[in-house]
């Protein structure tokens, strides 16, 4: 498990904030580190927090945020005196909506197939995990060599089609990932 990956498995910590103007923010809130926004870990500090009011510090600037209103998954936030309206989705509901809404779908399915015949010796992640591009998902042994099969995008693992110890053919479907890179 590489610790340099920014997404730390728990997909329930990834949210999508959408604005009416179409701007979209993928925001990941890890357990013990800085937030990741659109794939980048940013050095944003909490300065103050009170009731419905947060103050952040970033790049030497202050950002006063105030919750103005909430209606289900819609929130109006006042930042430095100016209001911005967002609708918020968990990654799962976002993917679900993406599936239903074929035209506006932002979620791509990325299938990982076996590059060669071999045997699955280890599976590092589980279905529902958030995975980083290049992060190993499973290990495939072929001709006495262990090959790590890595994610081809950032996303959430939808389906793992193989089990540990199973033999696979070349081009056999191993893992399905819902990409969050759009």
């Amino acid at each position: 498990m590489g610790t340099t990956y920014i997404y730390k498995r728990d997909a329930s910590r990834l949210f999508i904030a959408l604005r009416e103007n179409g701007k979209r923010y993928k925001i990941y809130i890890p357990k013990e580190s800085k937030p990741v926004i659109n794939g980048e870990e940013l050095d944003i500090d909490f300065v103050e927090q009170e009731d419905f009011h947060y103050t952040f510090n970033w790049n030497g600037k202050r950002f006063h945020c105030e919750l103005v209103s909430r209606d289900q998954n819609k929130a109006v936030i006042k930042v430095n005196g100016v209001e911005y309206k967002f609708s918020l989705e968990s990654l799962f509901s976002y993917i679900r909506h993406g599936m239903i809404d074929k035209d506006g779908s932002q979620i791509n399915e990325n299938n990982i197939v076996s590059p060669m015949p071999g045997k699955i010796v280890d599976i590092f992640l589980s279905e529902g995990d958030l995975v980083n591009e290049g992060e190993p998902i499973l290990s495939l042994e072929a001709m006495k060599m262990q090959n790590e099969i890595s994610a081809n995008c950032n996303g959430v693992i939808r389906k793992i089609r193989v089990q540990q110890g199973q033999s696979v053919m070349k081009d056999e479907l191993l893992v399905e990932i819902s990409s969050i890179d759009v």
């Binding site: 329930s12 809130i29 890890p30 800085k34 909490f46 947060y54 936030i77 100016v82 911005y84």
Partner: protein, 498 residues
């Protein structure tokens, strides 16, 4: 025994006047208006007179008789009217004078004359001031207005003789609409000012608003303290002001300043006053009107000249001779004032009322704050939306723009929206930076999208997400702890469950 100065006003200007009263060794007395019985200015006064005006149709600040009666009861020597309210009401000034109370301002006659724009203009013509082409006096009806407009060309502006603050005012772009506009403006003026007289003049498409501060005493001395540019307006009301103006050259300053002084002398003016000019794109300028009160934006002049205008207003009222000479007045650096109004710039500057949960002002030796509110203050619908002014001084225009922007980023107010983000947008706009902005800027250039920026939007998305996540993740009984030392975002969880 100390002189007793009563302030017939509220909010920041009351506090400002109290400061001058104390400096001059006077007792400052204010009214406690039932419409805002816990206002901040009450804390600064030496004595508070309860107005008991709850059942009255208008607050005490608009009630000349009540003010004077209470003033007499409380042995008041002087009354300072501030700005707005009764500050330019000649009947109020007259009532003070008749009752032996020193009214801080010019004579009631002059207030009356300057308040009638057609009278003021004819006096300005006599003193040789240039005027925008227009009718010499009120036009008698809509037909006469149309005939006149056809002669000077469109667009034209119709104005109420007794008007102010944008009421009774119409801009007419084509002959077809002039009669309808004349009638509605005249009706509006009649309702608001009790006088439906209208005059008409050529309308300048992209003008700048300039004004000269003057100060005169009762011994015939008058000086000017340079100009202010107040071109940044919304709904015909100023929102940001600067002194000096980048559109006024030293030669023009002398020419216009001399003109302002000559005019004031020609009418035997005393006290603080403002001569307003409108400047066309080609640099030609015309007399607009004279204000006979202290202006909201007086601090920018104070900052660049070092002269305390309110002090002098009071001293002049006491009969003191103006010791300042014209050659003593030097313009030092540049100053900008931003009005903090509880208005929503994202929604056509609609007024905001309610509680100020928390307010924080920038602090620096270059910054002057004039505020009428504090944490917990209430912004009521009964009064003006302006709650404070942030005035910044710099060594030159570029410097003051940068310092003002920094100051505004430090300002925060939790609870209500203000014009501060608007002022930040203005300070960064090329037309303000290169000083070509005109009174049409808000109308023609400004859009509410200009208030937004990407950094704020992104941090807003983060804040919204954290609030949402705190609920969402609580459901899955797995509380994340995006922590920064002892601060834990998720304390909010309980409060968000409503």
């Amino acid at each position: 025994m100390k002189q007793r100065l009563l302030i017939a006003n509220r909010s920041e200007i009351a506090i400002r006047i109290i400061r001058s009263a104390h400096k001059l060794g006077m007792l400052a007395v204010v009214f406690q208006c039932d419409r805002e019985p816990d206002a901040l200015y009450l804390n600064y006064a030496d004595e508070i007179i309860p107005a008991r005006d709850a059942g009255n149709e208008k607050p005490i600040f608009l009630d000349p008789e009540l003010i004077v009666n209470l003033a007499l009861e409380h042995n008041i020597d002087l009354i300072h009217p501030g700005y707005g309210f009764l500050s330019e009401n000649p009947d109020f000034a007259q009532l003070c004078v008749e009752n032996g109370i020193n009214f801080i301002g010019p004579s009631p006659e002059l207030i009356r004359e300057m308040g009638l724009k057609t009278v003021a203009k004819s006096m300005a013509i006599k003193a040789g001031l240039p005027l925008v082409p227009g009718s010499d006096g009120p036009v008698k009806d809509a037909e006469a207005a149309k005939a006149y407009a056809d002669k000077i060309g469109y667009p034209v502006i119709l104005k109420a003789s007794a008007g102010g603050g944008g009421r009774g005012m119409r801009i007419v772009n084509k002959p077809e609409t002039i009669e309808r506009n004349f009638k509605s403006a005249s009706d509006e003026a009649l309702a608001a000012f009790g006088n439906g007289d209208m005059f008409i003049e050529k309308f300048l498409l992209n003008p700048k608003h300039l004004e000269f501060q003057i100060m005169g005493d009762k011994h015939g001395n008058v000086i000017h303290l340079g100009e202010r540019e107040c071109s940044l307006q919304r709904k015909h009301q100023k929102i940001m002001e600067e002194a000096p103006s980048a559109s006024v050259t030293p030669n023009m300053r002398k020419e216009m300043g001399d003109m302002a002084v000559r005019f004031a002398k020609s009418i035997d003016y005393y006290s603080a006053g403002t001569i307003e000019f409108i400047m066309d794109e080609d640099g030609s300028y015309f007399f607009m009107e004279m204000n006979t009160r202290i202006q909201v934006e007086h601090p920018v002049t104070e900052m660049v000249t070092g002269v305390d205008l309110v002090d002098w207003q009071i001293r002049v009222a006491l009969g003191e001779e103006l010791t300042l000479k014209q050659e003593d007045i030097q313009i030092n650096g540049w100053a900008i004032e931003c009005r903090v109004n509880c208005e929503d710039p994202q929604n056509r500057f609609s007024p905001q009322t309610g509680f100020i949960d928390k307010i924080h002002f920038p602090q620096d030796e270059n910054i002057r704050i004039e505020s009428g509110v504090q944490n917990g203050s209430v912004v009521t619908p009964y009064f003006d939306s302006m709650i404070a002014k942030i005035i910044v001084h710099g060594k030159d225009r570029a410097d003051v723009i940068q310092k003002t922007l920094a100051a505004l980023y430090e300002f925060s107010l939790i609870g209500l929206k203000t014009t501060v983000p608007f002022c930040r947008t203005v300070l960064q706009h090329p037309e303000f930076v290169n000083a070509t902005y005109t009174t049409r800027w808000v109308e023609h250039v400004f859009t509410s999208e200009m208030l937004e920026n990407e950094e704020d939007e992104m941090i807003g998305a983060l804040a919204a997400t954290i609030m949402y996540a705190s609920e969402y993740l609580q459901l899955s009984s797995d509380l994340p702890t995006y922590k920064n030392d002892s601060l834990n975002v998720w304390v909010l969880n309980k409060r968000l469950n409503y």
